[in-house]
């Protein structure tokens, strides 16, 4: 890999700023340390939650069946909290600070308050982990009443959410400061706009969380006598599903950012990409209904309107990004000279750059695995086929692991040199890391979806029902799938461990890039340094992208109708 060095800008422009000699971005000291702190915390919780995930998968691998049942349920609860909440939200706070302070060349608003938010998040995350490990809070990620956890389980989540909300507030404050101090010209960059989307969604998501978790906490200490399980579910999912849309907005922003940094990709048109983000804000809050399709009491019309986010308009947002992101990549690659045939731009893409490879795998797998399965799972009637089977974790591992987590891992390969100012150690291993993790995660998602289609229940310690009074057997295909799921988890864990080793090793021992003229192993796009061209891409033909989205669309339609066919074979019901 070649080293690309912009002319070293030397000392920082003024005050606490330094100028990044690779990107020309102005980096303020407090923003930099807060990004570092949040990123490090994120990786630590990923490590904890990842180990738990491996233990879960090894227990659900029928031939291994590692943990006893009580440990299995404990570890599964911890896995959900640590990876889905703590890893992702810590990283998202880092992304928000990056997209505001760094990309706008501004100082961070109220660094002291930002630190307070950070410590609140740490305290909350630790408190919840303590509750989980004490053993009487194995209530799963959804923690549905009347099942009850220890009070500090809920309190930890509340404190964590308050801390995250503080971080979101600092992000908004930074936007205001950057605007007021005119640190940039015109509109905010697309990536910042995507981050803004994520932040706005985060506000009402965290508000939903407060509305439901505070009474639940009061109930757990005995101040409220009863929790309505159905009402709880509706409001809980107002937080639970919307929070996943924060992830989507954040990782889509990361896709655009990596495309820009690696090959100089520009949005095809700013208007379309920004409108797609806007659709998330307008329509995703309806999403709580996705989890209530098999529940009593809600009318069919309520379910149809809500699960479709009113006629699939938030899905439309994702489908638009599904074209504009690869389209921007193709356009940039064609401009970079890869113009032969429909796919030279793709073949000659920088596949050896882990940031690019991780981003592209995330894009493809989020669309094909997470996206399509999500729409099918969230269809009013089709939900009957897989509600609460292991298809559900299959789907959300497709969104949150192959999508968000992989995208964030990819972004780390830029955060390390640009923010930590360290060169990646073990570049050869770093090259294979996203493939290893992505392949494993895709296997996890697909095999769980397959097993769920065959009826394997989720969150279940013993799919052979050995000790149950009334025994019956699930299809042998389900056992095979769960075995393959276990194998995939081992592969993904290898990629995960590699990621942890590379990031921790780089932070501790990576060659320092802030001293002298040390070359950077991972190439940034040359234009990233000069910021020569802005804005939307000039018109180009994008045959490769058209073929890709056509394949995507055909898969979507076929899979959708295959499931209706399955549904039509069930018992009749009304």
């Amino acid at each position: 890999m070649t080293a690309i060095d912009a002319s070293y800008a030397g000392a920082a422009a003024a005050g606490n700023f330094r100028t990044c000699r690779y990107t020309g971005l102005k980096v303020e000291a407090s923003a930099q340390s807060l990004i570092k702190a949040n990123a490090v915390a994120a990786v630590v919780f990923l490590a904890i939650g990842g180990v738990m995930g491996l233990l879960v998968a090894l227990t659900r691998w029928p031939a291994v069946h590692l943990l006893p049942s009580d440990w299995f349920y404990l570890v599964l609860t911890g896995h959900g909290a640590n990876v889905l909440l703590f890893w992702i939200i810590f990283f998202e706070i880092a992304v928000l600070y990056f997209a505001s302070a760094i990309l706008l060349g501004s100082r961070l608003a109220t660094p002291r308050i930002a630190w307070a938010g950070f410590w609140l998040m740490i305290v909350g995350a630790l408190m919840t982990n303590v509750a989980v490990f004490q053993g009487d809070s194995s209530v799963m990620f959804t923690s549905y009443p009347p099942m009850q956890a220890a009070p500090h389980f809920y309190l930890g989540l509340i404190i964590f959410a308050v801390g995250a909300l503080v971080g979101v507030g600092v992000f908004f404050g930074t936007l205001v400061i950057a605007h007021g101090e005119r640190t940039y010209e015109g509109s905010i960059p697309l990536v910042t706009f995507g981050a803004l989307t994520a932040a706005i969604i985060a506000v009402f998501t965290l508000a939903s969380g407060a509305i439901i978790l505070i009474p639940t906490f009061l109930w757990s200490v005995g101040l409220i006598s009863e929790m309505d399980p159905l009402l709880y579910k509706v409001i809980w999912w107002g937080m639970g599903h919307s929070s996943q849309q924060i992830n989507v907005a954040a990782h889509v922003s990361v896709w655009y950012a990596i495309g820009a940094l690696t090959i100089g990709a520009k949005p095809l048109s700013e208007k379309v990409s920004r409108s797609a983000f806007l659709l998330y804000i307008l329509f995703l809050q309806l999403a709580s209904a996705h989890h209530l399709l098999a529940d009593p009491g809600m009318s069919a019309s309520w379910k149809i309107v809500n699960t479709s986010y009113l006629m699939y308009l938030a899905v439309l947002g994702s489908m638009i990004h599904g074209l504009t992101v690869p389209g921007a990549l193709e356009a940039a690659q064609r401009r970079n000279g890869y113009t032969k045939g429909a796919f030279e731009w793709l073949r000659k893409a920088p596949w050896g750059n882990p940031a690019f490879a991780g981003m592209f795998l995330s894009l493809v797998m989020f669309g094909f695995i997470g996206g399509i399965s999500g729409v099918v799972l969230g269809t009013e009637q089709l939900n009957l086929l897989m509600h609460n089977t292991i298809y559900v974790p299959g789907h959300f591992h497709g969104t949150v692991v192959t999508g968000t987590t992989l995208a964030f891992m990819a972004m780390t390969y830029y955060v390390l040199p640009l923010i930590f100012q360290r060169d990646i150690i073990w570049p050869k291993l770093a090259r294979i890391q996203p493939y290893l993790f992505g392949l494993g995660a895709a296997g996890i998602s697909l095999f769980m979806m397959g097993a769920g289609t065959l009826g394997v229940p989720r969150r279940h310690w013993d799919m052979s029902f050995t000790d149950a009074i009334l025994q019956f057997e699930l299809p042998s295909g389900g056992f095979l799938m769960m075995g393959l799921n276990g194998l995939s988890a081992v592969i993904a864990s290898a990629g995960g461990i590699l990621y942890i080793l590379i990031t921790v090793g780089t932070v501790l021992w990576g060659k320092r890039l802030d001293k002298g003229e040390a070359p950077l192993t991972f190439p940034l796009h040359k234009r990233a340094a000069t910021v020569a061209e802005y804005g939307s891409h000039a018109t180009v033909k994008l045959p490769g992208t058209i073929i890709l989205v056509t394949i995507f669309f055909v898969s979507f339609v076929l899979y959708y109708f295959v499931n209706w066919k399955y549904l039509s074979e069930l018992w009749l019901m009304r």
């Binding site: 655009y256 820009a260 609460n388 089977t389 058209i546 019901m573």
Partner: protein
Amino acid sequence: MAITPPENRLWWNEPIERVEIGWIVVAFLWGLFMFFFMIAWHFIGGQNLSTETYRITPAAYEQKVADFAEKYQVGDEMGVPIVRPPVGEDVYLLGRLWEWWPILELKKDQSYRFHLSSVDWQHGFSLQPVNINISVHPGYEQIITFTPTEAGEYGIACNEFCGIGHHLMTGRIRVVE
């Protein structure tokens, strides 16, 4: 670039790429189709969950199911009553830590008003091998009209985590010709 402000300050006035417009139209129409297909299935399809639901106290529901089981019991298996309700009669099933109770014997191609509730925590009714999955709540009695279309032995698993004995929570429905 995506990480820098748009060069054209009036970016919202720029024309949209043709390929983008085409894809937006396709995706939008597909969304509309999927939206209306869910509505259509209520008319053309035979699998739609009923929304008939009543509030009930867990104790009252438990009593109803016990009365039902006593009235139509025809045997037992492992201590669980086997209940054969007459065709057209209301059928009751309850979930509790950790069993689906009682065992039901239904006739193929006959429709039954099927009552479902929990008397303690949330459970998941998962009928195998047909793979019909329904959430079950304490305090809510939901009624679904089921018509089994195939004779045989069906197992019921719980697929909503309900504590340490979750994986032991099974039940049985028998469908006879």
